[in-house]
Amino acid sequence: MAFFQPQAKTVPKHTVDPVLQPWIEKYRPKTIDDVSAQEHTVTVLRKALLSTNLPHMLFYGPPGTGKTSTILALARQLFGPDNFRNRVLELNASDERGISVVREKIKTFARQTPRAQAANSDGKSYPCPPYKIIILDEADSMTQDAQGALRRIMETYARITRFCLVCNYVTRIIEPLASRCSKFRFTPLDPLSTSSRLTHIAAAEHVEVTPEVVTTLIDASNGDLRRSITYLQSASRLSSSADPPTPITPRDIQEIAGVVPTTVVNDLARTLGLDVSSDMIVDAVTPKRRGFDAIQKKVKEVIREGYSVAQLLSQLHDLIIHHQMLPARQKATCALVIAEADKALCDGADEELWLLEVAMQTYKALSR
């Protein structure tokens, strides 16, 4: 038996399609009713589906809330799998989307008369209304000029083409475009719908997850469903590929998500003179005052461990803001410092210098 197994493994290697789809693709909602949360949007869209008339649409909201999934599901429900290909044009940031593309590709597609409805191979009937849909995913990364060029196109061909803009930041869409669309806001998912979706996927993939793991997943992803599904998939990959397979622990999730361990954050906070005893009981003994050298040493240590400073700052921020004994004034000062550092990091400043800067300023604020 033992020497049959390797053979059995090598034979189907190139015959079986090894497209191991990421779960986020595999479990993309097929119909708009499958979309988690977003009740308001779904209700409106279901109405639109019944009347088979769509306005131009603008979907906006934080990443991983189901914007792209919703429009894809909607289009699929409208046209069916066979007509989908020639009725929908999907463009995203990985495609060239300068002004020339708007003028040529989008315009040509927009002014084509929709092709006749092809017979549906799966036997179901779809409404298949007489217009096409152009989906501009990640529309906030389009240039102003390109957006400007869209204005007239949207109006001229409105009879035979509907546009759907999908973006994270509605403010980056120029006003004339935004006013031509009906806007749909997607809110971050509430923990309840996230956890039900996660348990559903875990059950479908035969992965065992404990409630603690689900809670950790939700905490680590801040309402971003895609992120939590990716983390879950990575964790299950790691645990199943280990020999023997190990159960997923909350710590695994944290490591995958790049979350800094609480002990490291607390240690740093303690060096800064913040009292982080686990029980939070008023203590007469104030933490030992440390000087510049001790803090610098600690910062260097943290940097050497390779943690992401942006992540560390956000955790330190949470720790300080939710601290029970600090006066509001000190908290405000600390928050200001951290905000400054976050901006600096986004601009690409040196991590070590800014962590030290935050550490020193916080230390100063706390010792006042």
Partner: protein
């Protein structure tokens, strides 16, 4: 005759000397059919590159070591030609898009799409996908990162991406959420020491424990530096006995000299002198951030406790300015003047408020 760093670089995951947990994980991942996109991050000299190469070898076998270097020409939207060096084997391809400066988006779009749309033709290959290794991923522009987003999802069946970065702060969240994050922490002094002794054994000589310990502590978690220093020391004194003097790199002693100058005297003439030194350093291609950091740390060491925080504060402040601006020397100088001003104010109790 190559350097020891390259000669004794571990080739397989089993040869790695530290982070054994990580190695077993990588091995398990490489063995499974389902290999994710990955993002390796950690300080320099921690062994990210070594681990990536070992993982590739684990994935595809020795074939990945047959490398050839290619040059490709890309045309930017404004018809400018960009030449990019590619290192590739038949299973993977390695690029450093930051070479293309602000046109890295073109490189990422064109190259990745091209690779993604061609399938592996070699039937003997262990996996159907090719791997694209992107170096210095944290220097990718926002546009280039945005271009990666959908590509990473869409072409998952033909391609996997391995990103290599110093920190994840500069990567946009959508990229981070699509990758399996792998943190490679810097080795501890003991781990470096063990590696140094391992190299010594391989070269068939003994290294006194004091020497290896000193090397390990001096390297501050940078394995590459430790091995380079070790080799240099061996050249200097073949028996490695007696008190060792680990020679600092030239630029570092030079930076220390600059710090000395700043603390000794604060005058316009001195600023000019320091400026000349900075120019010298910059013309030797020492990154301005490194210069500022080294000098600032040295200055902070030599001034009074009360001033230390301020020195580092302004260093952080001007470092950010340096990134945003285009001419580095202005900001280096501005920092020097600021520090001198603070120092003078502090030591002589001058009231400098009206000069601020």
């Amino acid at each position: 005759m190559s350097l020891w760093v390259d000669r004794f670089r571990p080739k397989t995951l089993d040869d790695l000397h530290y982070h054994h947990d990580l190695s077993t994980r990588l091995k398990a991942l490489a063995a499974s059919e389902d290999f994710p996109h990955m993002l390796f991050y950690g300080p320099s000299g921690a062994g990210k590159k070594t681990r990536i190469n070992c993982t590739l070898r684990q994935l595809f076998g020795t074939g990945v070591e047959k490398l050839k270097i290619d040059q490709r020409v890309f045309v930017s939207p404004s018809r400018r030609k960009l030449e990019i060096n590619l290192v590739q084997s038949s299973y993977h391809i390695e690029i450093t898009p930051s070479e293309a400066g602000s046109y890295d988006r073109v490189v990422v779009q064109d190259l990745l799409k091209e690779i993604a749309q061609t399938q592996q033709v070699d039937l003997g290959a262990k996996h159907r996908f090719k791997v694209v290794v992107i170096n210095e991923a944290d220097f990718l522009s926002r546009d280039a990162q945005a271009a990666l987003r959908r590509t990473m999802e869409k072409y998952m069946s033909n391609m996997r991406i391995i990103l290599c970065a110093n920190s994840t702060s500069r990567l946009i969240a959508p990229i981070r959420s699509r990758c399996l994050l792998v943190r490679v922490a810097a080795p501890t002094a003991q781990e470096i020491q063990a590696v140094v002794e391992h190299v010594a054994r391989k070269m068939k000589f003994d290294v006194p424990p004091e020497a290896s310990l000193q090397i390990a502590e001096d390297a501050a978690g940078n394995m590459r530096k430790a091995l380079l220093v070790f080799e240099a020391l061996k050249m200097q004194s073949p028996d490695l006995s007696g008190p060792l003097r680990i020679a600092k790199p030239d630029w570092e002693t030079y930076c220390h000299k600059v710090a000395e100058l700043i603390v000794q005297e604060q005058s316009p003439a001195r600023v000019m002198e320091v400026r000349a030194k900075f120019y010298e350093l910059l013309s030797h291609c020492i990154p301005p951030t490194v210069i500022l950091k080294t000098v600032a740390e040295k200055v902070a060491e030599r001034v009074d406790e009360a001033l230390k925080a301020d020195v580092m504060h302004w260093a952080a402040f001007y470092e950010l300015r340096m990134r945003l601006g285009s001419k580095k020397i202005y900001h280096l100088e501005a920092w020097v003047v600021k520090v001198m001003c603070l120092y003078k104010h502090f030591t002589y109790n001058f009231d400098m408020s009206e000069f601020d």
